[in-house]
Amino acid sequence: MTVTLFIPCFIDLFYPQVGVAMVRILERLGHRVVCPEAPACCGQPAFNTGYWDESRAVAEKVLEQLKDAEVVVIASGSCGAMMKVFYPDLFVGTPHAPLAKAVAAKCYEFSQFLVDKLGVTDLGARFPHKVTYHDGCHSLREMQIHTAPRKLMAKVGGLELVEMKQTVCCGFGGTFSAKFPAISTAMGEVKCDLALETDAEYLVSIDSSCLMHLQGLIDRQGKKLKTINLAEILVQS
Amino acid sequence: MSERENIFTRIREALSVAAPGPGRHPGETRKPASLPTPADHRRVLPAVGTSFEDRVALFAKNSVELRSDFKLCQDQLELVTELKKRRDAEGWTRVASHKGPLTDAGCQALSLPVLRTDAAFDKVELEKCPVGISECDALIAQTGSVLVTSRSAGGRALSVLPPHHVVLARREQLLADLPAAFEMLKKKYGGDYPSMISFITGPSRTGDIERILVLGAHGPKKLTILCV
């Protein structure tokens, strides 16, 4: 297959290793990977803030770049939700509506793509550490991703997964983290406490945007926890 | 235009635009199928066994959790014995009650002055009664509830003002579940309902202070159900 990989802005700038890992994994599985140079953004910040016209301007470019793709894999559940779930809503009643629907239909988040589309769970990876897993809200509730990452982790050599006792939002929420920093921080603290209770060494997620917020808190407060994207684990042998 | 007409006009105008069906996405105005029936409700609500024994067992189990004092009596004699036991344990000097086959027999056996709530009565006197004895319309196994109405249970206040409410019920009154109770109400009273219908589930309770359970917040602190 030719896989068109969509790399959102924060992966590009802050966590390129996540994108690199995804390219390596997909190529190892025998697929050709293409990565559009631009755009870098799915348009979610403007959409979430209520500026749907401005969001559409960004999203239209994305749709144009992806319209001929065989399949689109997105390196984030949050951006994935924007493209798969919200693009059809965003373009309702506009000339781009059919294209938005068509592109949405071929979008997958990375772990979802491996497990649900390719039927692959064992990548021969090895990561002998105790980890706990954070379900990003858009991944969990908009894209319905829950079992795919867990199936992949189950096949990682030496990995011990301990679940947190509660599933709750980490407090990032995109622009929310900047608009309501006090609440966002409190929510992040609650999340970190839940993770620390599991005694895990690593906090894993498919959403580096959530991890960016949590790692920021961990570093500032000197907590004994490390964050890592699932792709970074899966590429390790 | 009256306020009523104003409101109805706004409602009709609003409803001239269709809303999406119960689901999520705009652009989908799927109308739902016809309304769920009591049989549909029964299928999704907690399960209740079909036999009387199953239902009694479930009612008894719920009563324990609710802290209701429930006793299945073999016969009228046992019912009267149980009534007298409670009279003696609590030292009742008078009771409040209403006319009915079970309550008449019960009050007679107790040999105490009775304040009757069938005709006009003094609510201050009712407040002083230690116990209100009533009949009911049904017992509901699924929830451990007692179904009373202002017609079957001596009015509105009798079953809630005295600190102890005693319910005298017949075993045929034990229904399986809430859907059955509503079906029964419609059949029994349809067209001429009592002004009050109440599902009583356990004694009065509150968790308003630190989520700690306290019984007898305003209504009865004790609920006794004697079923014969």
Partner: protein, 464 residues
Amino acid sequence: MSTAAAQFRQDARRLTADLRHRQLIQTALGKYEVKRDENKALFQDYEGARQFAAETKWEAINHLDQYLDQFVRGLEARGTKVHWATTAQQARDLIVGIVRGKNARRIVKSKAMTAEEIHLNEALEKAGFEVVESDLGEFIVQLRNEPPYHIVFPAMHLSRGEIKDVFQKKLHDAPSDEPEELTMVARRVLRQKYLQAEVGITGANFAVADTGMISVTENEGNARLTAALPKTMITLLGIEKIVPRLEDLGLFLPMLATVGAGQLISGYNTMYGGPRQPGEADGPDEFHVVLLDHNRTAILADAEQRDALHCIRCGACLNVCPIYRNVGGHTYGTTYPGPIGGVITPHLRGLQEWKHLSYSSSLCGACTEACPVKIDLAHHLLQNRRNATRQKPSGWQKFAFKLFAPVANGRVMWMLVTKCGRIGQKLHPLLRGKPLDPAYCWTKTRDLPPIAPQSFKEWWRTRA
């Protein structure tokens, strides 16, 4: 920023830093969660029940004129006096008028969020009447001159010590701080109020159209007493409380109790169809029902958000909302907190003034998942944001987002951003964490990740 928004931020900042408060709420809600899940598990098909509940309310709300008419005719046929109020002021005036008309002085009240919404108590007290809240939690916050903290648990935020203190101060009767003893004090005081009050005011959880009855859910028995003893009974409710048939309560009563309070069914669920009827020995001589619009028809007209009127006021969305759990009920500064409050308050009280309640959400979607009638809560918050910016866009934000398109979409622009970002990061330590820091909203409490020495796109370009 509106005054309400500024107050919200101030209170949120204070309460999110209050770890004692955080612990109190987490503990209270933790207990509720255990019981909720136990009772949910008893359902044979809880998700099926949600779908039935959603379809039933959809039918009721989308044929509201028909069912409301049926409801009122049923009530009036048995002697109930029905009144209509478009505005909060009209509702207040109607109720004050009814009370005056009875030459009454003392009123006992059971819990009604709608009464909070129209600030009824204030109006009654100003008119010279004594109003006593009978629900224990409401009674306590009334003594403290506070609004309720949670729509189901008004005094969730208070410790037994604080309750003892206010009982001592206002009632001069507080033997200890044991919940049982404090409750008995309230019971003693309120019993006299029920007996003496000439008027009882209640809310309603549901309005049953086919039999013309209101339905009231409670655990304490205080609403039962409010509806039994005073000579005049007044019920205030929103027009959206309609359910089509009596048997619909067989589904709604257990669902309300399960997610609202973690019980299979509440202690007292009572249907009232009129004043005292011929043959009945007690009950009110007069029964008045006041139907309130107060912008519910505006929500009805917004077809996209019409399902917000399906709300049965259970509180399930509050209980799961991570924002609510950290800022608490009072921070919202309005009658309906949490996600449902974020959705409807802009409609009820003004979009520009209250849009911040729609913005102060991470859109996690836990509310949508928890709602027993499947209201699309999280998406409605997004829609409110869109409506707010359409109505009154913020100049600089609109400009910034307009700028973002060519920057994020342009190959060259993005390269420029990457390179400038790296330079900016080198200079950032000088300003980091200080109020002049452009990233202050982040760096006040969190570190920023460094921009990678080689971005993904730069690496990708080297492969070509």
